[in-house]
């Protein structure tokens, strides 16, 4: 079983918490403090964003963190080096999230191999479409033992949700509304949508992302979905942080304690 899937223990109380952080934010080497604090503070999964100049699917908060990280000097190569150095301290499964252009420039095959060697368990590449995944990239990802996680939205037709679920491993990423990250959307519409997904009895657990910001929204989402992903709210809590580890611990306590 994949390391990601192994965190989904039947009957686990409170739902799976996946926390997103942009690599190189707020400081170039912040991952070394933030990742252990996330693990110790009870995050079940961590998602690390590869900073990119043109992050199309991201809202202002994550865009800004990406800009800061790039100005700090973060690169994909350095990120993989940082993860390699942290590998032995981390038991929490690590997922990399980024855009295709970054990965293409690094070399797709080499990226998958180096990421796996650095202890990465899964990939989220929102602009890698199903067609290209089937034609070329899926085989490389699978060959390197990485899980690939597709996104679905309330607009994704049922038949397509099933296809993307079939291609995904670890979990399926349910975008809570057709929106860039960090937008404020009505939680009740999200609930209807999550119930619809639940009735489909998909192969993978469902994690809901985009719009989860606090204890209430996390509880509402995980009452139905298997877990939730928090990104923008966590990034905001680290703005101007002088002690990212302590702020990370505090943030996790505010979500569930």
């Amino acid at each position: 079983m994949s390391k990601i899937k192994s965190v989904f223990v039947p009957g686990k109380a409170g739902g799976i918490l996946n926390v997103y952080i942009t690599a190189g934010y707020p400081q170039l080497n912040s991952l070394a403090e933030i990742l252990p604090a996330l693990q110790d503070g009870g995050a079940d999964l961590v998602e690390i964003g590869i900073p990119y100049s043109d992050p199309l699917a991201d809202g202002p908060v994550i865009q800004h963190s990406s800009t800061v990280a790039l100005a700090n000097g973060m690169t994909l190569q350095l990120l993989l080096e940082q993860l390699s150095a942290l590998k032995d301290r981390l038991t929490v499964p690590v997922i990399l999230m980024g855009y295709m252009n970054s990965v293409m420039q690094y070399g797709f095959e080499k990226f998958c191999a180096d990421a796996a060697a650095a202890g990465v368990s899964g990939l989220i590449l929102p602009d890698l479409p199903e067609f290209e995944f089937r034609k070329e990239y899926g085989a490389v990802i699978n060959r390197n033992g990485l899980d690939f996680i597709f996104l679905v939205t309330p607009e994704t037709a049922e038949e397509r949700v099933r296809r993307l679920d079939e291609l995904s491993n670890g979990f399926l990423y349910a975008v809570s509304s057709s929106s860039t990250t960090g937008s404020d959307k009505d939680m009740s519409a999200v609930i209807d949508y999550l119930q619809r997904l639940k009735k489909m009895k998909l192969k993978n657990p469902v994690l809901v992302g985009f719009g989860i910001r606090d204890r209430q929204s996390f509880a509402a989402a995980t009452a139905i979905a298997d877990g939730a992903i928090i990104g923008s709210a966590f990034i905001q809590s680290l703005e101007n942080s002088s002690d990212p580890a302590a702020d990370t611990t505090r943030f996790l306590q505010s979500i569930r304690s």
Binding site: L56, Q77, L164, S179
Partner: protein
């Protein structure tokens, strides 16, 4: 089967470039376009309305003008395809007319667009006024400062102009913001992209709307010279929509040389350039695989050109394929060469070109021209919008003062 340069594969590939690298949030909108654009464009009622508007509203066909004095200066027969005489002053309106008719048929009520210099924004605001649709134009904060007259034109036409404040605050970021707007409005909104860029089917759709340029060129040239094909076609390339239109009906005729002219800025290796094929590598930008100016780490870099319309760090996938396959000849002209070429056209022919089109004119100095050969050059836009730049040049050369 012989390969055609005109048509991409069903998945939107020209050779190894193209495709639709989009997040799932855009999938329903893009899929709807992919499924319906060709069928809608082929409907007789669509064709009729499109052609009527091009004739009565845009003023087509645009003239094919034999520039006698400029021809004499180069020892060739040089024909200018006068897109500068279109309503709103450039070729951009050919595409926005087509896309607004398509948006209507898709039942969309809200139109978004990106713009750099403001030409595409004005052309979009124009057709939205014509059809009574809401219009939102994203424009880089820096470009809003640099292009105040076009911002005012858009306002006067009833459009809302939203500054793009992310990234480098120019065209590339305005495009990102427009795409993000589309993600957040999945039902009622159509995105009118202004060039042959973006996810499939945009490059093909925009090329088809712009192909009217070469369609007219063929019969106009036949009328004037007895033959339908010139020896060369020259056009400037930013994203590449006027070049796509000017090349389109000659793409599969290898005897016609296709010359694409990029903006070299202060010089290809000056660090301030927009010559994408010279400086870029294969990559993904705004939803398609093409050639992209970027760092080793894959961060898209900010280009430079005196011409805002060519100031883009990528090119359309069709052009990337023309470059890759050798079908197109890619040249570049510097800011200075282009301004010089603009003055030359003004003084020999009485036509003030847009700075973008001036790049195509500047290429005449770089080609090994054959005496008497026939050239068609796409004069994509007029120079009114560029008078501030031209005034600076006049101040430098004659000490004139226009304060």
């Amino acid at each position: 089967m012989e390969t055609s340069y005109q048509h991409p594969s069903p998945e939107g590939y020209y050779g190894r470039f193209g495709g639709a690298y989009i997040p799932e949030m855009l999938f329903p909108n893009v899929e709807e376009l992919q499924a319906r654009y060709l069928q809608i464009m082929e409907e007789p009622a669509f064709r009729q309305e499109f052609n009527e508007l091009l004739r009565d509203y845009v003023g087509r066909p645009s003239p094919l003008y034999l520039a006698r004095r400029l021809s004499q200066a180069y020892g060739v027969q040089l024909y200018l395809k006068r897109e500068d005489l279109n309503h709103t002053g450039a070729h951009k309106i050919n595409n926005t007319i087509g896309q607004i008719l398509l948006a209507e048929r898709l039942g969309k009520k809200r139109i978004i667009a990106e713009t750099g210099a403001g030409q595409h924004g004005v052309a979009t605001a124009t057709v939205c006024a014509l059809k009574g649709l809401e219009c939102i134009v994203y424009m880089g904060e820096k470009d809003i400062e640099r292009q105040a007259p076009n911002v005012a034109r858009m306002h006067m036409l009833g459009a809302k102009v939203i500054p793009a404040t992310s990234g480098s605050k120019t065209l590339k970021d305005a495009t990102n913001e427009a795409i993000r707007d589309w993600i957040n409005h999945p039902h009622d909104t159509h995105y009118i992209i202004g060039s042959v860029v973006g996810p499939h089917p945009y490059p093909d759709m925009v090329a088809r709307f712009q192909s009217i340029i070469s369609e007219e060129t063929r019969w106009q040239l036949k009328e004037k010279t007895g033959r339908e094909t010139p020896d060369r076609v020259i056009a400037c390339v930013g994203g590449g929509s006027n070049a796509a239109g000017a090349f389109y009906h000659f793409l599969d005729e290898p005897q016609v040389e296709l010359v694409a002219v990029e903006a070299a800025g202060l010089g290809i290796h000056s660090g301030l350039s927009a010559a994408t094929t010279a400086l870029g590598r294969p990559g993904i930008l705004h939803g398609s695989k093409s050639i992209v100016m970027q760092t080793e780490d894959g961060q898209v870099v900010e280009p430079h050109s005196i011409s805002a319309g060519l100031d883009y760090p990528g090119i359309g996938p069709l052009h990337a394929h023309l470059f890759d396959s050798g079908r197109g000849k890619f040249l570049s002209a510097t800011d200075e060469e282009s301004v010089r070429a603009a003055f030359k056209l003004a003084q020999l022919e009485g036509i003030i070109p847009a700075l973008e089109s001036a790049h195509a004119l500047a290429a005449l100095d770089q080609l090994d021209l054959v005496n008497g050969e026939t050239i068609v050059l796409c004069l994509s836009g007029r120079g009114d919008k560029d008078m501030a730049t031209y005034m600076k040049q006049l101040q430098m050369t004659n000490g004139a003062n226009y304060e």
